[in-house]
Symmetry: C3
């Protein structure tokens, strides 16, 4: 028997909006430690990892580990029927082929039960090793989203280059080139407005903007985003979810490296 | 000669928005008692009845009963040209084949005259007898609109079941099922937030969500909606229009009754 | 070398939004007096003239007169990447085939460089003689925009008729006719809400609404619009740009004069 009661139900709505365009079907794994998901995007290029820790739920009962295959689009359709202030409870009986989402309005005058069929989904859980990154940038998530969106109007890829002074986002396309430099800045009124750079060595990596834009659908979940870069590793774009956990997106850099015109093409 | 001056002209704009998707062409009937309309939707399934009583107009002159055939889409185009605070006057000369909508801005600095051609429309006026209903539910109109919209993302029909405790809206579709229960609640801060159930006997009736969603276009006209149900009668979904009258939508229940899976299919 | 620093960078964004649908490619002319543009629309019916005087820039360096051919759609794509409070600097080296738009955020924490390729565009600069107009109407720009939009839902052309008392906008179409009269009114709380008519003799001219609607894209640039009419001249629709200059649109009247049904067709 599974029963997870989340007072801030709108978090779960935002989680689904963040991942449903990237992943069609996925297994949600439920254990005593939390409610989690790991899935490749449909073109097997990006990886998304979600964790909602059990402590973040008002009530968390998970008698045995269970993996529930869900169509994220259908799940999103159901969660959209919840009110923004509703309490959401996820319920499943042992061995059942359905999951129930219960929405309670704050006044308890409206109670909704949405029952969704589960799916069998083959998936292998990848172990993601802890890694050392050359550079870690923390910046306002809305700023990062605007940069990815703006650069998409010019080119298809973004070169992210980090130095101690700042992080540069560059692209080029048919109509011209664009360079956006965001400086390290920790003297801000609100901590979430800071741009903080931790750097061991400079990095410059190229990524497909299409995926970056997709990751920024998680912006409503957090005021800040953390981008961890290393030349041999996929970038990690992480959005913290309140006190409960995170969504992390992983994306391998493009081989054509930084497309810098000053370097000879091989 | 006809001259009807409506100070709160935006009401007429909202009326047109409420019915123009359901009905293409209709006769507006004008008599000494008021300005009214009765029309079937284009697929002859739903009926809409509108009444704006003469007392609600600042000035109401209607020398003789007159029926004016209008294309509601064209009428809506013209009314949309009025400002939200404009006074609207409907004018027609005896025997004229046009009607004029005059819009006066609150400062009287802008006066618009829109003249629309009338049409000949065959229509029979149905007598709608006063009826006793098994159950009458009054609830916030925005809540009802959200429920119809939410259920439409899951299924095509809604089963409305009323008991003394509350009203249940249910649907089922390919991806699962949904049940939304709204409890009777009269202890609210504002009377328009109450859900009030008057019940003589329990009812459970099935309706096409497509029409219900269409009816909810009248939501801007009133904070509350009244749903009157009886097993042998069309449901009446009524939106009161300020002190002036109402829009009522009538829709016959579906024969397949409540699609309850516990009942054997015939 | 060219370097024009505009503190209120959003003005330049609004200028592009105002003209990019009307004109595809155009030469921006830069001289010691200012930054200007003159171009016909793509169907060679309307003319747009833009002037941003050098005094309006915080810093204005233009070593020699230069004409830079730009695709306005691409330029608009780049300017949309600036923040609304950004300072925009336009830069070009002598003989370069590119122009650079630099965006500085108010806090200087984000600096963007967008470099766009220039184009060779043939254009002849028309001399526009100073003229006497029969009537000049100054009115709120939002009001004029709403009138053009509203009339477009009824007909394709607008007849603008000016008398001492007011200005009348009329149209007719398949569904009927519309007349909107705006009265002269100078006793308003805010000067930008006034409608002021200077008239030497009455005029009544017909214009294509399609172009008028296009001109009203400049509405965000100014609270007021000035419409200058003369029976032998193109109408001038002018939006002032803060203290800096203006956008002026010129459009020839339609020959079919005022389409007034009371006059015999020639």
């Amino acid at each position: 028997m599974l029963e997870l009661r989340l007072v801030q139900g709108s978090l779960l709505k935002k989680v689904l909006e963040a991942i449903k365009d990237l992943v069609n079907d996925a297994n949600f794994d439920c254990s005593s430690t939390g409610f989690s998901l790991q899935a490749m995007d449909s073109s097997h290029v990006a990886l998304v990892a979600l964790l909602l820790r059990s402590e973040g739920f008002e009530h968390y009962r998970c008698d045995r580990n269970i993996s529930m295959g869900m169509n994220l689009n259908n799940m999103s359709k159901m969660l959209k029927c919840s009110g923004n202030d509703d309490i959401i409870t996820i319920k499943a009986d042992d061995g059942s082929d359905t999951v129930t989402f219960m929405f309670e309005s704050p006044t308890q005058d409206k109670i909704s039960d949405f029952e969704m069929k589960l799916m069998d989904i083959d998936s292998e859980h990848l172990g993601i090793p802890e890694a050392e990154y050359h550079a870690i940038v923390r910046m306002p998530s809305a700023e990062f989203a605007k940069i990815c969106k703006d650069l998409s109007s010019i080119g298809d890829t973004v070169v992210i280059s980090v130095t101690k002074e700042g992080v540069k986002f560059s692209t080029r396309g048919d109509i011209g080139t664009a360079n956006i430099v965001v400086r390290q800045n920790t003297t801000v009124d609100k901590p979430e407005e800071a741009t903080v750079i931790e750097m061991n060595e400079p990095v410059s990596l190229t990524f497909a903007l299409r995926y970056m834009n997709s990751f920024t659908k998680a912006t409503p979940l957090s005021n800040t985003v953390t981008i961890s870069l290393s030349s041999e590793l996929p970038v990690v774009v992480e959005y913290k979810i309140a006190e409960m956990g995170y969504i992390r997106f992983y994306l391998a850099p493009k081989i054509e490296e930084d497309e810098d015109e000053t370097k000879p093409h091989v």
